[in-house]
């Protein structure tokens, strides 16, 4: 067998002279790169591309609004913007938005915490996993109104109940994503963590959370969005004491008074906050973590 192969090896292709490069003593390595055109450079900036998309959406809105010509149902973009500016100058919209954001942050923070605890329990034992799975599949589909009675009993009217409902809307989505992320962490990494003697919370914090960070971040994004949705809807279900109230209430009130440009100004605020949070907060986190770590490409 060996001989056979050696025999074969004689039938080599194209014999050619050997090359030996002398020790090059050029310590400076200059590299000639093709430069990009200005347009290409600009296009490479994600902010610029996003601005293009936003402008396009605004134009579509404006045109569609004009075609529809039904101010009571769907105002134009310009009408919305002027109502928005009006309300911002009034100070009404910022105050309402701030009221909503405050509650939102509290609910979101508690939801994230709770999701963390639930997932930690789920990682600790099999019955914990079953518990999380069962709870999630049971409670996640329940609408906020279902919680009303319990919320009233436990927290009464007002912010306590709103926070409760927010927690409900945030927790399950984040827990699901986190848990599935944890389960998908590579076996080797988990073994490495155990090898260091890490267990319990330290194992979760030092190994699972960073390793599952892309999933967790998605969960956080979804949770954030659903928190907004729920808050705005819940302000209606749960009632608001007059005088206070957040963005949801602003929208609802103006809707009741058929002041539709204001309704859309409220919605625009939600959209703007969404854009800001995505681009300033989530994108920054992404850039500093999963992109730097090469976990997403």
């Amino acid at each position: 067998m060996r001989e056979l192969i050696n025999a074969m090896a004689l039938q080599q292709p194209a014999m050619r002279p050997e090359i030996v490069v002398p020790d090059s003593s050029s310590p400076t390595m200059t590299v000639v790169e093709k430069p990009l055109s200005k347009l290409e450079l600009l296009y490479n900036v994600s902010m610029f591309r996003k601005a293009l998309i936003l402008i396009a959406l605004a134009v579509i809105w404006e045109i569609y609004g004009r075609i529809l010509n039904n101010d009571l149902l769907f105002p134009t973009f310009s009408a919305t913007v002027s109502a928005f500016l009006q309300s911002v100058i009034d100070g009404v919209l910022p105050a309402r938005a701030w009221a909503s954001i405050r509650i939102l942050l509290v609910g979101y923070a508690i939801g994230v915490l709770l999701a963390g605890i639930l997932t930690a329990i789920a990682m600790a034992s099999r019955i914990g996993t079953d518990f999380l799975e069962t709870m999630t599949s049971m409670f996640n589909p329940l609408p906020a109104i279902a919680l009303l009675p319990l919320a009233l009993i436990w927290f009464g009217l007002g912010n306590g109940s709103l926070v409760f409902v927010l927690v409900h809307s945030v927790t399950w989505a984040i827990a699901l994503n986190t848990h599935s992320g944890f389960l998908s962490v590579s076996k080797t990494l988990k073994m490495v963590g155990r090898n260091y003697g890490l267990a319990g919370p330290r194992f979760i914090w030092d190994i699972l959370i960073p390793a599952a960070f892309p999933s967790i971040l998605t969960g956080l994004k979804i949770g954030w969005a659903f928190a907004w949705r729920t808050l705005i809807a819940a302000e209606l279900v749960f009632g608001v004491s007059s005088g206070s109230g957040g963005l949801g209430w602003f929208i609802f009130e103006n809707k009741n008074m058929l002041d539709i440009p204001n309704v859309f100004a409220g919605l625009l605020t939600v959209i703007l906050i969404g854009l800001v949070v995505e681009n300033l907060i989530f994108q920054t986190i992404e850039r500093r973590t999963i992109q730097r770590w090469g976990m997403q490409t």
Binding site: P13, M15, R16, E18, V20, V21, V31
Partner: protein
């Protein structure tokens, strides 16, 4: 034969990785030609850019400088004409069994389909001694077994040019010898071209007919040698390559 046009022409290729914080030059102005039927070896120290060069030939990276031509055409994208065997263990599709993994490569690249693909797959799986595990999923295999599946897949594709990145590194001496022989036998049958990365000088001499030596990071061409088949000559060549590669090391030690 020596007047044929080169199949693969790498000319003055600089490859760079851009990360937000760093700019890593992997290879610097590397040039070489691979002729049809060549068993071309890339040999060099760890981190000198062998894998990067292969990825560039595979079409996954664009050179910062220089160009790579396959059959006279600049390489722009990956394709099944250049079948790759990667260095990483996670190159098998986890959702396919061993036989599906090999057969799917054939089907996806529209080489063969159905029964034919499956037959060819089983043929090569037998060659890498994994018939017993044909219906196992990759996560149930050992490191060496995974690499053997990847080798079977690469061979089954019978591509114009086979790019193999340290394919036998995870294999024990016996299995390794078997695989080397298989590769040579297959080459004998179909005379494909292979661009082979290895870190074993002996393997380089055994497998290759032409050996490219690269300097440490960033990789530059140090020499391009012909291989030999006579055992005695091989020992001489091995020592020569060793000297060329280790000269830096020796110099360093002398400096210290």
């Amino acid at each position: 034969m020596s007047f044929e046009a080169p199949l693969l022409e790498v000319s003055g290729v600089t490859l760079r990785y851009k990360t937000p914080q760093h700019l890593v030059t992997a290879t610097y102005r590397v040039s070489f030609q691979v002729y049809p039927g060549d068993r071309f070896i890339l040999l060099g120290p760890s981190g000198c850019g062998k894998s990067t060069l292969q990825k560039a030939v595979g079409g996954y990276m664009t050179p910062t400088e220089g160009e790579i031509r396959l059959k006279g055409q600049v390489i722009r994208a990956p394709g099944p004409d250049r079948m790759m065997v990667f260095q990483e263990f996670d190159q098998l599709l986890p959702w396919k069994t061993v036989r599906q993994n090999v057969a799917f490569a054939l089907e996806a690249s529209r080489r063969l389909s159905g029964k034919e693909a499956d037959d060819r797959a089983m043929h090569y799986i037998e060659k890498v001694n994994l018939t017993k595990f044909a219906d196992s999923y990759p996560h149930m295999l050992s490191g060496g077994m995974k690499q053997r599946v990847a080798i079977a897949r690469g061979m089954a594709m019978e591509p114009d040019i086979l790019l193999m990145d340290e394919p036998f590194a995870a294999l024990d001496a016996l299995t390794r010898r078997k695989m080397q022989d298989e590769l040579l036998m297959l080459w004998e049958d179909t005379r494909f071209t292979v661009l082979f990365v290895t870190h074993s000088i002996a393997e380089a001499i055994k497998i290759g007919n032409r050996i490219l030596l690269l300097t440490p990071h960033p990789g530059r061409v140090k020499a391009e040698l012909n291989s030999v088949s006579d055992p005695l000559e091989a020992t001489v060549l091995e020592r020569r390559i060793q000297q060329m590669l280790f000269s830096d090391e020796l110099k360093e030690t002398a400096d210290a």
